[in-house]
Symmetry: C2
Subunit: 234 residues, 2 copies
DNA sequence: TTTTCCAATGATGTGCACAACGATACCCGA
DNA sequence: TCGGGTATCGTTGTGCACATCATTGGAAAA
């Protein structure tokens, strides 16, 4: 496709590529379990397999990819048991953002939260809805990561979020029994969360915002478990 | 040196190598800021630069290394500000191990804690003391990571521990003003912690063990800050 | 018809030669 | 003697050819 810039620093080129691939995975352009082709990706980005493999190795270290000799490079899936553990951890970490170096949002950041809230409410229905929803969730997570100055904490919550959100959304859009009904419901719930968090940040009450988010992570986890229980007795 | 096994699976070989390098970094065989040679490492492990670079990329993704084009590959140092943040986070995470899927230690694990406690008390004084102490701390961290079934949490605490412990120990053994006095004091304190945690685990009271550890992380952080304040007014 | 073996295929892993880059030391001119 | 520009060297980054592995399909034997 587009070889991007013909010549940028090697370091920036690889960082850029890593970000692009990470987004594609989180936006479900590459759903869990899918096989990627090193050669195809190298061709798409106008480089050799060697530097591409370096990027893939980094993504493998963060748990988003897994390479198997002679078979292929796969986007990782997350087993139910581990998903449960990540959710349990996210619930605990949600409050820490307000306790460790909370940073009241500056006007530009507040504007981002407002934009996310309105975008969530006006999310258009259609075949592109899942991807738009995924993008929305990604943006929300990115905005949240600026609410605390504790970078290691925000990196971890962001990482865990990326691991769970894509699996969660993938399960939602896979029409096992309830096809799109769940998705519409989840979108409405997320819109409420975005609005509530926005309102809390306008005060600004960071602890309230964190508590709201924590509650939603917890409830989202419960709904996922219910959905699992429904899907099993088939 | 020793090319290890002449032929093992590629995946295992690289995982093994990554573990070895990670240990060398955490045991301060490769102190923060030191420059590594890709060619020398490749030669030592009997492989080409290509697979070695794959391992280095993974270590770079976890923040232990940093490669700079045309300059070298360096063991990362951690700035004071970030070290503070990691400590603050570790203090909060310490209690979670007892709250999320606590696992009472089986007899073999208990034996490991006992061994660590006695080894800490009988730590021989000498030129090899810092390395033996680093090994002790590493083993203690590894044993602790089995006290909870929540794997993502234990991975994170382990990762954060590796990031802080090596910097902390390096600062201790660098004779800026108080040469080895601090080290001996820290060893004694650690020995007390290991004994207290061991006693709590014999009950077994995992919450007490976590609280003890949390207290020691917090106090260790305070001592580090004091030491910093002492070092500055030179 | 079924089973077994093997060859072909496509993927990732490895080694090597060269390019690109940054730091350093040196030389030349003022 | 000092300053600046340049050449050289060491190191990481890239491209390519090949090795290695796992799967799959088909052919041959039971």
């Amino acid at each position: 496709m587009a070889p991007a810039e013909p010549h940028l620093t090697a370091r920036l080129r690889s960082a850029r590529l890593e970000q692009i691939l990470r987004e594609r995975i989180c936006l479900l352009d590459y759903p869990p379990g899918v096989k990627l082709s090193e050669e195809a990706l190298a061709g798409e980005f106008g480089m050799s397999r060697t530097p591409l493999r370096r990027v893939l190795a980094r993504l493998e270290a963060t748990g988003l990819l897994q390479s198997v000799h002679g078979v292929g490079t796969f986007v990782t899936d997350v087993a139910d048991a581990e998903l449960d553990r990540i959710y349990a951890l996210r619930i605990e970490l949600a409050i820490l953002a307000a306790r460790l170096e909370p940073r009241p949002p500056a006007p530009p950041l507040l504007a981002r939260f407002r934009e996310i809230a309105t975008r969530a409410r006006d999310l258009p229905a259609g075949p592109e809805t899942p991807r738009a929803f995924a993008r929305l969730i990604l943006d929300f997570s990115a905005a949240q990561s600026e609410l605390s100055g504790n970078q290691p904490l925000m990196e971890m919550t962001g990482h865990l979020h990326g691991q769970t959100a894509r699996i969660w959304l993938h399960a939602l859009t896979q029409p096992e029994d309830g096809p799109r009904l769940d998705l519409a419901e989840e979108i409405a719930i997320f819109a409420r969360e975005a609005e509530d968090v926005r309102d809390a940040l306008e005060i600004p009450d960071l602890e309230a915002a964190a508590a709201i988010h924590r509650a939603h992570v917890s409830m989202s986890f419960r709904r996922l478990q219910e959905r699992r229980a429904q899907g099993r007795p088939d």
